[in-house]
Symmetry: C2
Subunit: 249 residues, 2 copies
């Protein structure tokens, strides 16, 4: 049994997951999102959650869709479930995602999707009246250290007075493995909800990256040194929708 | 990003998966079986497949249940889906599994389950008229090298003239990653369908082990030097049910 165990290949694991789910008609049981955390923890979820039909979006998601106006950027659009909801309301939305597979699937579903991220937006994409961080994508703030820079990069994509609309969840958990991970984070001076992770699918793994689940109070702290101000927040159980506005002048 | 990536803890990952699925009422989307192959390939499947209700068992599975008579051993009973079907027919079945979590769940579901494996059966478990290798558990033959020993160990658990009833599937695949793995196996003199794998769940990983998906023809070859003889085989697409009988004298 002393043979070499090989590592996964670096690649678009997230896109592979979405592609397979879409190829199977977004039917439950066909493709799974597998998340590996840097402590060796592995979890899976049915990939159909990226294909939630517009009619089945959560109340907070629908509220976000209603609040967004003007030219809208859906950051980390995935398979485009929120972009499609915006389009159904006749709104003007561009979806961006760093995953080529996600962009491919979102386009096949009719979304104006482009390859890109907050740090590396599509060339000439311009500025927006509303930026969306749906599906807990306040996580893209990454960490206490990175949040300020990410919020500044988001401001570069925003027109004066633009809204930054996103969802999040309190990371508090009753799972002893999550509690231990969060305690370890605190000891290192990190926010408890910071996760170093990668996505895996079949032979592929993405690069490791930091994703942040801040509580609403932590989010308030993170945006303090940024050009964004919290305008409204809607809490529902452990989940929340936060609406930030870009300060001008 | 140059911090240590930790490995999973050695533990009963399979049992954790079954426990979580059972705790969620065996509802789809609650728990996933994650399989890691030694080439870095990762795949997931909904754990509800271990809880298939008796009425929903496949035709081959139901045939196996019908064929088994007398004192029956269900090898690798998992959550006991086949053992429960046997019990519903008033049959006398003992389930064994090396996973403490599986044994716990199977017992909670009413199966006479014991901790044990082919190599290490429960003490005093005695001998049986029928041994079942359901759910592709001809895989427990492990490899060309190991199959002979495993088939001999199974014979030690069998009464004269006993049946060994199991299911399998031809490993032929159109997935390029599986094809590459099988080619690599052939180059090493292994059967194409041999898989070195471990089960992962949350923070846990089992030990690495070999699991074998022999075609029906390969199974015929594997049992040739054993005390078992193929009595009948029922092929259905790429799947098969094979019934072996212990030769006496």
């Amino acid at each position: 049994m002393e043979e070499e165990i090989r590592a996964p290949r670096l690649g678009d694991a997230f896109g592979r997951t979405l592609r397979r789910c879409w190829a199977a008609g977004a039917t439950p049981g066909a493709a799974f999102e597998i998340i590996e955390r840097d402590d060796g923890h592995l979890s899976a979820a049915d990939a159909t959650r990226y294909f939630t039909p517009v009619a089945d979006l959560s109340e907070l998601d629908r509220e976000a869709v209603t609040l967004a106006h003007g030219r809208i950027l859906d950051v980390g659009t995935g398979a485009g479930r929120h972009a499609l909801a915006l389009q159904q309301q006749g709104k003007d939305v561009v979806g961006i995602d760093p995953s080529p597979g996600a962009v491919e699937v979102a386009r096949q579903r009719g979304v104006a999707a482009e390859l890109g991220s907050i740090a590396h937006p599509p060339e000439g994409v311009g500025q927006f009246d509303a930026l969306l961080l749906m599906g807990n994508n306040f996580g893209l703030l990454q960490s206490t250290q990175m949040a300020k820079a990410v919020l500044r990069q988001l401001a570069l994509l925003a027109r004066p007075g633009a809204l930054l609309i996103g969802t999040g969840a309190d990371p508090a958990s009753s799972d002893p493995d999550h509690i231990a991970y969060q305690d370890h984070n605190r000891k290192r001076g990190r926010l408890p909800g910071q996760i170093r992770m990668r996505v895996r699918s079949g032979p592929l793994a993405t690069d490791w990256f930091d994703y942040l689940l801040p509580s609403l109070d932590e989010l308030r702290q993170l945006i303090r040194p940024s050009p964004w101000r919290l305008e409204t927040a809607h809490e529902q159980g452990t989940k929340y929708l936060a609406v930030l506005r870009l300060q001008t002048g």
